[in-house]
């Protein structure tokens, strides 16, 4: 007599990859930056991260119930969103912002579309954009960023704002001074040039690299973010084309257009190491759901992100453009996929 046999379609063996495995891998890769956030910014960073994660997972469960969908919160994707959303908050953000931001990210930017795999925009960045639009002063008021640990820039005789993030400093302090030197006065102009010079020193780059500058809690330490990124690359959880294309484009365009003294004088290292570029290029732009599936498409996406980032940084109203660059390119992803279909084997 035949035993009861399983009859299913080929293939009959599967690789050991799974969504929870990938998501847990991403969480692990964020651990260095999380520890850095706590070290640089203190206890409130812990509160924000915990609140954001709890809110993300809770919102996902609630939405699934409302949708009548089966409960599925064990793939760890909401945990990743929670951590990344928290990383986009300044360290003295109130705890309820973490909750509201995460709830928006999951409910409006993910569950409304059908849950994991169906969203068009990166949920964490959509959450950040929502918070920024709703409570701008809490999100970007420079007075809310703690002073850089190494005390850089603090010796200069400039109004307040020595506690700004590097990019804010360039856009809101240095930029206007250089544009209208007449009004500012010679001493201030001199201070501005000194600041620029100081921001080109090895010690300043060191601060940028290790994370001793102002910023939102997840973006400051290049070293810790890169460490996580290497882990993700080795495991194959992110495609190298996106961070390389994104960062490379920013480097190139910042070099060409970013210098205050004309073309090809931009400070490449400064642009690559400051702001949310590394966080965005390594952990946000590489989000699989919201970026193209084709190889060529990933390049197009990455270059687009880089170009828009530099455009906003140099010409736009905000000091940092990474979030909007990624959100805009997320919008273009289905189109990019349609136009970068690989040439079929044997095709013309």
């Amino acid at each position: 007599m035949s035993p009861t046999l399983n009859v299913s379609s080929s293939p009959h063996i599967y690789s050991s990859e799974s969504i929870p495995k990938i998501m847990i891998g991403v969480v692990l890769s964020l651990v260095p930056a999380t520890l850095g956030a706590v070290y640089f910014f203190g206890l409130n960073a812990v509160v924000l991260i915990v609140m954001a994660v709890a809110s993300a997972v809770g919102t996902e469960a609630l939405c699934q119930k409302l949708r009548g969908a089966p409960l599925k919160i064990d793939d760890f994707s909401a945990v990743v969103t929670g951590i990344l959303l928290a990383f986009n908050l300044p360290s003295n953000a109130p705890w309820w912002m973490a909750i509201v931001g995460s709830a928006f990210a999951i409910a409006v930017a993910k569950e409304v579309f059908g849950g994991i795999g169906f969203n068009i925009w990166n949920p964490a960045l959509a959450g950040r954009a929502f918070l920024l639009a709703s409570w701008p002063t809490s999100m970007i008021s420079s007075a809310d960023f703690p002073a850089p640990r190494d005390g850089s820039l603090s010796g200069l005789k400039l109004d307040a704002l020595t506690q700004a993030t590097p990019l804010q400093f360039i856009k809101n302090v240095i930029g206007p001074l250089l544009k209208e030197p007449g009004e500012a006065g010679a001493a201030k102009l001199e201070a501005a040039h000194q600041a620029l010079a100081q921001m080109s020193t090895a010690s300043y780059y060191g601060s940028l690299f290790w994370g001793q500058v102002g910023g939102v809690i997840g973006e400051t330490s290049a070293a810790l973010l890169i460490l996580g990124g290497v882990f993700l690359l080795v495991k194959g959880y992110i495609d190298w084309r996106v961070p390389v294309g994104f960062i490379g484009t920013v480097a190139l365009l910042a070099w060409i257009f970013g210098g205050p003294q004309g073309y090809f004088t931009g400070n490449v290292l400064f642009h690559v190491l400051s702001g949310g570029l590394l966080l965005g290029a390594i952990f946000m732009a590489t989000d699989m759901v919201t970026s193209p599936v084709t190889r060529k498409g990933k390049w197009v996406f990455a270059v687009g992100c880089g170009a828009i980032t530099v455009l906003i940084r140099i010409k736009g109203g905000y000091p940092e453009g990474v979030s909007y660059a990624i959100l805009l390119m997320n919008t273009a992803t289905p189109l990019i996929d349609a136009y970068t279909k690989p040439k079929v084997y044997g095709g013309k």
Binding site: M1, V7, S8, S10, P11, M288, P342
Partner: protein
């Protein structure tokens, strides 16, 4: 020897060949009963020339072809024809088959060997022997070999590739035959090359078979035009289109055949059957089948008479059927078919039986997370995630636009999908619909 070649894409499942790679081919005692389906290959079904009650010997013609793309079928045990009627086929359908009950004598027909050396025969005479022996492509597709070896005028074959890649995990049938019948294999290749009038012969072997590479290197020696070509151990390296691309840098055009780029690929078992047919007039009667899987008592490579029921094979080798058997796959684990029951016969195209124990692995189904791993692994450069979504939503025009027809159903995409989506099954659905739409429209 050429340096190691490969194609873009593919996956690396664990090869699991250590279970049977060192087991010599062992012939099994002919079974008490064989079931021979009248449709074992692409082409017109056969017409039986025997009736219940007829006495047959091993090798007696029992069904004849009804068209050019068809080969005859021979009795694989001696005894009496029990019935000609519908029997269960491995694909899960009932099909016209000839059932023969053995008399236990194993009496064989007299086969006619050629008068002199085979090299005196013309290409036409060689092909006639191949057709009369009932030889079909034994790599799995089972296409009548004499037809494959008759490309239309204007399609000159300049490269003949012998497929000893055996890229499916678990299977070692081709590997063992390569080691144990190397000289005859090389002669079989020479015969095929002669039929094609082709001067360049590449013997493709995956790098996980170093002993085979060595044996072939020695056997091929200085034969003009012959080269042993190692290929990277990767699935599906043995797909004929992938082999052609890896070894010649040419791509078979979509909708076309290897002959369109001057190439032709044949499997090891096919070449050996050609040798047997030409030198001894022996028809295709038996197959080397790798019986493998976890927890078997006697896994190995067995020479099995075509038509032997799987349950009889398991009884002969394993001493019976274990209640713990959860799934039996005929073929390899990537492209084989899961059998609905064990009372189905071994076919001409069977090269493996993989036993999976309970609990059977089932892929969890999540929505597509657009990771792109399927796109990266597809050896035909399709977008499996998109094709599967289109098929699921019955968007047939999109399936056609995304080349569903070109899918070789190798399983690389489903294997690698972290969401566990049934990509191959969905794409097959789309492919089938697209192909049949065309046929229906023509009417």
């Amino acid at each position: 020897m050429l340096k190691i070649a490969t194609f873009k894409g593919g996956v690396h499942p664990p090869d699991s060949k250590e279970i049977t790679r060192d087991r010599k081919v062992e012939p099994l005692t002919p079974p008490a009963k064989v079931v021979l389906p009248l449709q074992q290959h692409i082409g017109a079904p056969l017409e039986p020339v025997v009736a219940p009650g007829d006495l047959v010997k091993v090798g007696t013609l029992i069904a004849k072809p009804t068209g050019f793309v068809s080969v005859p079928l021979h009795a694989t045990v001696s005894g009496k024809v029990k019935s000609v009627g519908e029997e269960m086929h491995p694909a899960g359908v009932r099909m016209q088959s000839v059932v023969i009950e053995s008399d236990g004598q194993d009496a064989w027909e007299e086969f006619i060997a050629p008068a002199g050396d085979w090299s005196a025969l013309t290409a036409e005479e060689l092909k006639k022997r191949i057709q009369e022996a009932g030889i079909v492509g034994l790599g799995g597709a089972a296409f009548p070999t004499h037809v494959k070896l008759s490309p239309p005028a204007g399609k000159k074959i300049d490269t003949f590739i012998l497929n000893c890649a055996e890229c499916e995990p678990y299977l070692t049938a081709d590997y063992r035959q390569t080691l144990e019948r190397t000289g005859e294999l090389v002669t079989g290749m020479q015969m095929i090359a002669r039929i094609l009038g082709c001067e360049r012969v590449l013997v493709a072997v995956e790098t996980n078979k170093p002993e085979a590479i060595q044996a072939l290197d020695q056997a091929v020696g200085d034969l003009a035009g012959f080269e042993v070509a190692p290929v990277e151990t990767k699935y599906p390296q043995g797909g004929e289109k992938q082999l052609i691309q890896a070894l010649t840098d040419r791509e078979v055009p979509t909708g076309g055949l290897p002959m369109d780029v001057g190439c032709l690929v044949q499997n090891v078992s096919t070449a050996l059957s050609v040798f047997d047919a030409v030198t001894r007039g022996r028809p295709l009667l038996d197959k080397v089948v790798t019986l493998t899987g976890q927890g078997l008592k006697n896994p190995g490579n067995y020479l099995v008479r075509v038509g032997m029921l799987v349950q009889d094979l398991l009884a002969a080798v394993e001493g019976g059927i274990d209640e713990e058997i959860g799934k039996v796959v005929m073929g390899g684990p990537m492209m084989g078919i899961a059998l609905p029951g064990l009372d189905v016969p071994v076919l001409k195209g069977t090269n493996g039986l993989v036993i999976f124990r309970n609990p059977v692995a089932v892929a969890p189904h999540h929505p597509c997370i657009r990771c792109g791993k399927c796109v990266d692994s597809c050896p035909v450069r399709l977008m499996p995630c998109e094709l599967a979504l289109f098929a699921e939503n019955e968007r047939w025009e999109k399936c056609r636009e995304y080349f569903a027809k070109d899918c070789i159903e190798c399983g690389s995409c489903s294997y690698t999908c972290p969401a566990g989506r049934n990509l191959v099954q969905l794409i097959r659905y789309g492919k089938f619909t697209v192909m049949n739409q065309g046929r229906l429209q023509k009417k």
